[in-house]
Symmetry: C2
Subunit: 458 residues, 2 copies
């Protein structure tokens, strides 16, 4: 079904206005949880608790997980203790952790008070891990098996305990001290003979992550191998949780968004665009704008120191935006290509020479072709068509030689900076166009005035 949320939304609004609660329940209940959450978030806030209570218990918990933190908080505040406990019992541990991380302290306290002891223990364990670690996105609810079981007993075990697990697609075989011995997929289990031993059918070449690994690397690993879940072990090699593919997809999306933001000189925010307030947006954008604005002073100083020469050869001024712009674009092409290569693990710092060599050759070809195109354009359009007599062949030569050198420097700097940033532990995405452009502006002006001095004798 392709759910037409807009049509359903107006139907829901209408039914809510007419207070037709049983009908409303019938409309909402068949929808996927994510869509119900989206619909509820469009309705006036004071309706939310009432509408939420219409949902069947299990579905209600699924919808709760999909809601925005503000709505979750509103609901928790209106929940009775029994209602809160009911919702918490239905949640998976990793979802509970996600919710807790967004709530104010008094709400967190109330949640932990009403969670069962086992959940509380797991929540506290996951909360221990740093924000970007594998530990922070794992769930502790997985199926574990002993290696001495037969397939038949294993399936019995899964049938008995499986309802509370986030996934039963993989079962993890552990020894008594919880070391990971192997993995059996539910597929292997189903396709095996009933009296096969788990030990004989398990896969012992297990790819795993460590609790302190970067969550981005974990998502990359899941994607690279096409796994549905990855086991996570602690510093003593004991299995403590698993990261499932849906969480990995969320991480990939978040990280891509952060990279996009950094590359556009925005400090990363984790809220959807329209839900971020004006002041919050200003806070994420102003620091870089300010920094880049002030560093543009450098370009100003370069220009001012050639002010007198420019006054005599004023034709040169008009080409400044074209030269700095082309330099900036060339540099940002290289830097973005390298930044993306880094985040997909296609290249690393060891490839520095190969990258610089490649970019140099690309730069020479691009620079020379652009310069030729520009030379023809200067003589045909500017000189002949627009009758600008100041555009002489020496002037055109200055502009075109500047172009070749600027493109070269821009591409080499553009490809090196992200690699160097990665090496010293900065996020390479910061080294994208806004930053590169500011550096390239100064470089291209210096090159421009150097050629002008050389050829025009300024």
């Amino acid at each position: 079904m392709d759910f037409d949320n807009d049509a359903i939304l107006s139907q829901v609004e209408e039914l809510a206005k007419q207070r037709q609660w049983p009908r409303l329940r019938e409309v909402l209940a068949p929808l996927p949880a994510a869509d119900i959450a989206a619909i509820l978030s469009e309705l006036p806030e004071d309706r939310l608790p009432l509408l939420y209570r219409l949902l069947p218990k299990e579905l209600a918990a699924e919808v709760f997980v999909e809601m925005e933190p503000e709505e979750q908080e509103l609901l928790i505040r209106t929940f009775s203790d029994t209602e809160l406990k009911e919702v918490l019992d239905e949640l998976y541990v990793d979802d509970t952790v996600d919710i807790i991380e967004e709530m104010p302290a008094n709400v967190v306290k109330r949640i932990l008070q009403h969670a069962d002891p086992e959940t509380r223990r797991s929540v506290n364990e996951i909360l221990k891990y740093p924000e970007d670690s594998a530990g922070s996105i794992m769930t502790t609810e997985f199926v574990d098996l002993k290696k001495t079981l037969t397939v038949k007993d294993a399936i019995k075990h899964i049938r008995r305990t499986g309802t509370d697990k986030e996934t039963i697609n993989y079962c993890y075989v552990t020894d008594p001290s919880r070391h990971l011995l192997g993995i059996v997929s539910i597929r292997t289990l189903l396709l095996a003979e009933e009296d096969d031993g788990i030990e004989d059918i398990m896969d012992t070449n297990v790819v795993y992550a460590r609790t302190m690994d970067d969550k981005e690397d974990v998502a990359q690993t899941l994607s690279k191998y096409g796994f549905l879940a990855l086991p996570v072990v602690d510093t003593e090699d004991r299995l403590v949780g698993i990261v499932t593919v849906d969480d990995a997809m969320d991480v990939m999306e978040e990280e891509a968004t952060e990279d996009f933001e950094r590359m556009a000189a925005i400090l990363p925010t984790d809220k959807p665009y329209l839900r971020t307030g004006v002041l919050e947006t200003v806070k994420s954008r102003l620091p870089w704008l300010l920094l880049l604005m002030l560093s543009a002073t450098l370009s100003g100083i370069v220009i001012n120191s050639f002010e007198e020469s420019l006054a005599t050869y004023s034709v040169l001024i008009g080409f400044i935006p074209m030269l700095t712009g082309t330099g900036g674009n060339s540099g940002s092409q290289s830097s973005v290509a390298v930044i993306r290569g880094l985040s997909l693990n296609e290249i690393d710092f060891g490839d520095l020479c190969a990258v610089v060599w490649k970019e140099s050759r690309v730069a020479v070809v691009c620079g020379v072709l652009l310069a030729c195109a520009n030379f023809v354009k200067l003589l045909l359009v500017d000189r002949m068509l627009l009758q600008n007599v100041d555009v002489t062949i020496p002037v055109a030569l200055v502009i075109c030689l500047t172009l070749v050198c600027t493109v070269f420097c821009a591409k080499v700097v553009g490809c090196m900076l992200p690699l160097l940033a990665e090496k010293i532990g900065l996020d390479p995405a910061v080294m994208a166009s806004p930053f590169i452009s500011t550096i390239v502006d100064v470089m291209s002006l210096l090159i421009y005035f150097a050629f002008a001095a050389l050829i025009l004798g300024l």
Copy 2:
């Protein structure tokens, strides 16, 4: 296990040199297929067919899927007919399609000749669909069940046919004319009673895609609902295939890369950075550089038409890079935020007013704060510290008013262009910094000279 591919690579190279084939097989066989493919691709090409033949048959097929097209082609050319048939028999249909799409015609012909008739039919069906459609990334190998089966019979059916299916995590219930009636997850199946009817336990609220849907939307849907697979129906509502989450992750990664490239004025390529040749890279970068360079002529024309005024008030020249740069950065912040919102389906064209209203307010706050900071800097640093007597209060006023107006126009244009592009069917990502900067350059110069004329009487 965290595989240390570099260490293994040197071990493999050493063993290959010593021709210790059985030992080599022992080293490679326990590794995940993706890692073996990565290792083999690092070795000299002429070794590849020999090393590949060391792998156990089933693993060999998995490794084959993970290889780069050039290596696959090389191997296929060295395969005997029997070897080719063996590999093809082990591949899933969607992988076969992926390989075929990259091969030259004579290799494709040979592959289709040696595939079994059933596979050939499926391959040809998938190849029918356009490149970006759901149909092109689906697999036709899924588990289907009749609604009249019991759980016990269904499990029997899966055990009999499951080995050839790409996933058994979801089973699809269809009627005799192949219309999709419902879905049963393997988890529901395992946790149900043996004599329950499939009809009673299946979920009939099925989210599905259509063969012609955009593959990016399909990936978004899988991610949004946290599904492991999505059924795909044809125009007559018959179930023809499924898209699995691993393919969806690849699509998400590819689309993010394409967006990054478009936003940096690069024509999208689908090869890893270091595997793209110099000329290929030039081809993907030169067109936009050329176009943007030529459109920068406009800025030049604006400056030239104020050449004489600039000659008298030459202090104004030095601030051009700062003004155009800040404008460009402001615009690219807005455009990137909107582009990302569009590709995550957080906003659409209907939000145009809300977006413009938000950006206008952000722009006013940012613009005024930047202008104030700049005013103080102009008087304290430029006038007092650097003793630049040309920086008078009227000049500072011109610069700061230009800043406010430029930031405002840049942010409004920056947020509108991607939405308009989406509306008329262009890729919004093209409307990112390079394009925006070129427009903003002209705008900011016009604003600058207008204020200069007004206040300084140029």
